[in-house]
């Protein structure tokens, strides 16, 4: 795909050093703020037992469907109100951050490693492996993610391992493509030819020469994929086939609140806002990263 030359290309050449990149990133105030918010979510998740005013699954029968504190019927005991079983919404949201972040990181790591490894192999060695992988990728892409996830989860029942598998099943393809594409380009590059000429082994070329160069776009992709995974997990939990119900999860909470949208609207609204905020900040931070590390990918 040809592309006109813009100032981005100038940026690439001047900011190619790590200190340069860091300075550039920190200059983007929005991205920094977003990054801090994400760190904030992580902190909240880690410190959940200390931060949450109540236990997340504890039912308060005297306060069923209590509105948030700014209503006259609300109380500072339950700042964001309670759900249909009398469970404190704020506490459940705090604990919900844990599972979203945990699953997001786990799935992204798995897809990153698998996709990159396969992509590097396909891009460097080509041949039958590349051809077979190409067919496989085409088939997987034509497969609607939700159907596969539904089928797995409907079969195994509520099960975190199966959930990770369902979420990861299509995700590795993006990493595969980026890795493969970059390796394809890199293997013709001068520095690789030079290394080969000097007698370097294949693994040396792959890991020491090529790999460091493909890391930046992979990091960007990983961050942006994290956002997608968080939403995907929330969607599955919303449909009732994601996180088991004993673990508080934002998607499940929105589903719980669905019956009450005509009255106790807060039960479905606030958990969704949490998802929105976290994903938004992950996206903002990822875009900031991308501007710095890999302006070629800019949309």
């Amino acid at each position: 795909m040809t592309r006109p030359v813009t100032e981005d290309d100038v940026l690439t050449t001047t900011a190619a050093t790590a200190p340069g990149m860091a300075r550039l990133l920190l200059g983007n105030r929005v991205a920094v703020a977003a990054g801090l918010v994400v760190i904030g979510f992580v902190a909240v998740g880690l410190l959940a037992p200390a931060l949450a005013p109540h236990a997340p699954n504890l039912q308060h029968p005297e306060a069923i469907r209590q509105p948030p504190f700014w209503y006259s019927a609300g109380s500072p005991q339950h700042l964001l109100g309670t759900d249909s079983l009398g469970r404190d919404l704020l506490s459940r949201m705090i604990y919900g951050a844990r599972i979203s972040l945990l699953l997001g990181v786990a799935v992204v790591l798995i897809t990153l490693v698998v996709g990159t490894a396969l992509g590097m192999a396909a891009g460097y060695f080509r041949g039958w492996f590349d051809a077979v992988m190409s067919r496989l990728v085409d088939t997987l892409l034509a497969f609607p993610f939700l159907i596969f996830a539904l089928a797995i989860m409907a079969a195994t029942g509520p099960n975190l391992v199966a959930l990770v598998a369902a979420l990861a099943f299509k995700g590795w393809v993006d990493f595969y493509r980026v890795a493969r594409g970059d390796v394809l380009a890199a293997r013709e590059a001068d520095y690789v030819t030079a290394a080969r000429g000097l007698g370097a082994t294949t693994s040396h070329i792959l890991f020491r020469e090529i790999f460091p160069n493909i890391v930046p776009p992979l990091i960007v992709l990983a961050t942006l994929r994290m956002a997608t995974i968080i939403i995907a997990e929330a969607s599955l939990s919303f449909l009732g086939i994601g996180v088991p119900p004993s673990i508080p999860a934002w998607g499940t909470m929105v589903a719980d609140g669905r019956a009450d949208i005509a009255g106790a609207w807060w039960i479905a609204t606030f958990p969704g806002l949490a998802i929105l905020l976290l994903v938004l900040c992950v996206n903002l931070f990822g875009e900031g990263l991308r501007d710095v590390l890999d302006p070629r990918m800019r949309t």
Binding site: P61, I64, S84, L85, G157, P158, P245, S246, R258, I261
Partner: protein, 544 residues
């Protein structure tokens, strides 16, 4: 996506390549066009409608909001209460029930039992199907043959076991038919309530697929259109014979028509009732009952339900093979506070599986009572001084109750983790006795213990989730099945209930009320324990 600068191609293909590519192209074309034609054929095919361009709009049709969708309109090919409620308006049966669950003859005028196994039914005369053809004994025989599987090449009916051990039907004359059973079967007439009569000639003419989309019957309403997922429209059948003489009104239906709309989400149904888009709302969730009562244009109609919810215990393996633990569980929870809080009192706590309206109900059983000290003592005695960790499995709709129960059990030291399953998945696992503690329910629409006790508690019961096996109970159930004298049957069932109360394969029983939201412009709509919706009996207030 391949797009490169490529060298000029060779001008043609070799013959081999041509054949290969041709073959592949044909295969793709076939598969692809099969898929696409399916999609495209949806456009341009009208919904199931009667012949001719009759407009679907039926003036004055009453909209009813159902809580589930219908998958078929064939009375013999489903196990869905919703389908039965809808189809019962199109097709009548030999026997019916009134709002108090009393059995009344409908298409059958009367019947007699000869010996133990032969029932002779005298059929009503002058009854016609919606296409004008007369209703005769041939149609009854055809209906029953289809259900018991006596007609080859037809899909087996999932309602066969509902009918019971019927071996065949014999046409005696145009309005008399004899039904034979495999052994003494005291409740045949009760079970006929669940089967509706299909027209033999029409069915043979149009075939099973078309019949499922476009059935006709002898009922008070005739199907006008079925748009799956959206609506089922029916209009009054003017030549209706009148229905059972024991259920007023007798004659053609007062309503000009009915439109059933599947609205699976309770919130949606409620909003539709409020906006007066529907006049009847099926299944009001207990926590919305007050809201319906507060509506200016609608009211609540209540009936005691026939479905018992219960906590089941697996008696065949640890931990609950130990009867002390089962009793500990029973002492740990009293259903009534939970019913008050989470079902807002819209359910009835029961000492056992049967509901009070059921035949042979034992009202001497003590009501449940919470006794936490005893529960803890029993746990300790059984070897669990620090409490017990278990999993409580349930289906998605029962999640809240399950979590509430888990909360209460924790007070006695039983720490339950709630696990939610899709209903069918859960039932399959329960049948394989893979679960130890579970919350589920079983319907007893016939209100006869033979419909619930054997299947759950006989040692070879198909749905014996508990691994319960007591030879005495087996014997009593078998004897009850064959006893033609109602008093003898009742006595045996009472003994079974006492045995179950002693052995505790289940605890925490309750039956929810059936709640309907009804618009004030309707008079004479009555909620029914069996969940049926006989719209023939519904009329509007004169002001409407």
């Amino acid at each position: 996506m391949k797009r490169q600068q490529s060298p000029p191609h060779r001008s043609g293909l070799t013959r081999r390549e041509f054949l290969q590519e041709g073959a592949r192209a044909l295969a793709v074309a076939g598969l692809g066009s099969g898929v696409l034609s399916t999609l495209v054929s949806g456009c341009g095919r009208p919904p199931a409608a009667r012949q001719g361009l009759r407009p679907e709009l039926v003036r004055g049709a009453l909209p009813v909001g159902l809580d589930a969708d219908v998958q078929t309109l064939d009375p013999a090919m489903h196990r869905s209460r919703t389908v039965e409620a809808v189809v019962r308006n199109i097709c009548d049966g030999l026997v019916a029930r009134d709002a108090e669950m009393r059995y009344v003859p409908q298409l059958a005028e009367s019947w007699e039992v000869e010996g133990d196994t032969r029932w002779v039914f005298t059929l009503r005369k002058g009854v016609t199907f919606h296409d004008g053809s007369p209703f005769t004994a041939d149609d009854v025989k055809f209906t029953l043959d289809r259900i018991i599987g006596a007609i080859p090449d037809l899909q087996p009916s999932p309602r066969k076991d509902l009918l019971g051990p019927v071996s065949g039907a014999e046409v005696i004359d145009e309005h008399t038919v004899a039904i034979t059973t495999e052994g003494p079967y005291p409740i045949l007439h009760k079970k006929l309530v669940f089967q509706e009569v299909c027209p033999k000639r029409y069915f043979e003419e149009v075939g099973p697929d078309e019949f499922a989309r476009n059935p006709i019957g002898t009922g008070p309403f005739r199907l006008v259109a079925w748009v799956p997922g959206e609506r089922i429209v029916m209009e009054r059948y003017e030549d209706y014979y009148g229905g059972s003489p024991d259920i007023p009104p007798v004659g053609p239906a007062p309503l000009a028509g009915v439109i059933f709309r599947p609205l699976e989400e309770a919130a949606t149904r409620l909003v539709s009732l409020e906006a007066q888009e529907i006049d009847v709302m099926v299944n009001v969730p207990p926590d919305q009952a007050e809201r319906v009562e507060g509506l200016p244009s609608a009211h609540l109609s209540v009936a005691q339900g026939t479905r018992t919810h219960f906590l089941g215990l697996n008696c065949a393996r640890k931990p609950f093979s130990d009867p002390r633990l089962r009793e500990a569980l029973r002492c740990a929870i009293d259903p009534r506070p939970i019913i008050e809080q989470f079902l807002l009192g819209r359910a009835q706590a029961l000492p056992g599986i049967l509901v009070p309206m059921a035949f042979g109900y034992d009202d001497s059983l003590p009501p449940p009572k919470q006794d936490l000290p005893r529960a803890k003592a029993l746990l300790k005695e059984a070897g669990y001084p620090d409490g017990l960790d278990v999993t409580l499995d349930c289906e998605a709709t029962d999640k809240r109750i399950a979590e509430a129960i888990a909360g209460v059990m924790a007070q006695a030291g039983v720490r339950a983790e709630v696990r939610v399953w899709k209903k069918d998945n859960l039932l399959n696992q329960l049948r394989r006795r893979e679960r130890d503690l579970f919350l589920t329910s079983w319907g007893n629409s016939s209100l006869d213990p033979s419909g619930i006790l054997p299947v759950l508690f006989r040692s070879d019961g198909y749905s014996n989730f508990f691994g319960y096996a007591d030879p005495e109970v087996d014997r009593l159930l078998a004897e009850a099945d064959g006893a033609m004298d109602p008093d003898v049957r009742a006595h045996k069932y009472i003994q079974v209930q006492r045995a179950l109360h002693r052995d505790i394969p289940t605890c925490f029983h309750f039956a929810q009320q059936e709640l309907y939201g009804v618009s004030d412009r309707i008079q004479s709509f009555q909620a029914r324990p069996d969940g049926m919706l006989p719209m023939h009996d519904v009329s509007l207030t004169t002001a409407s």
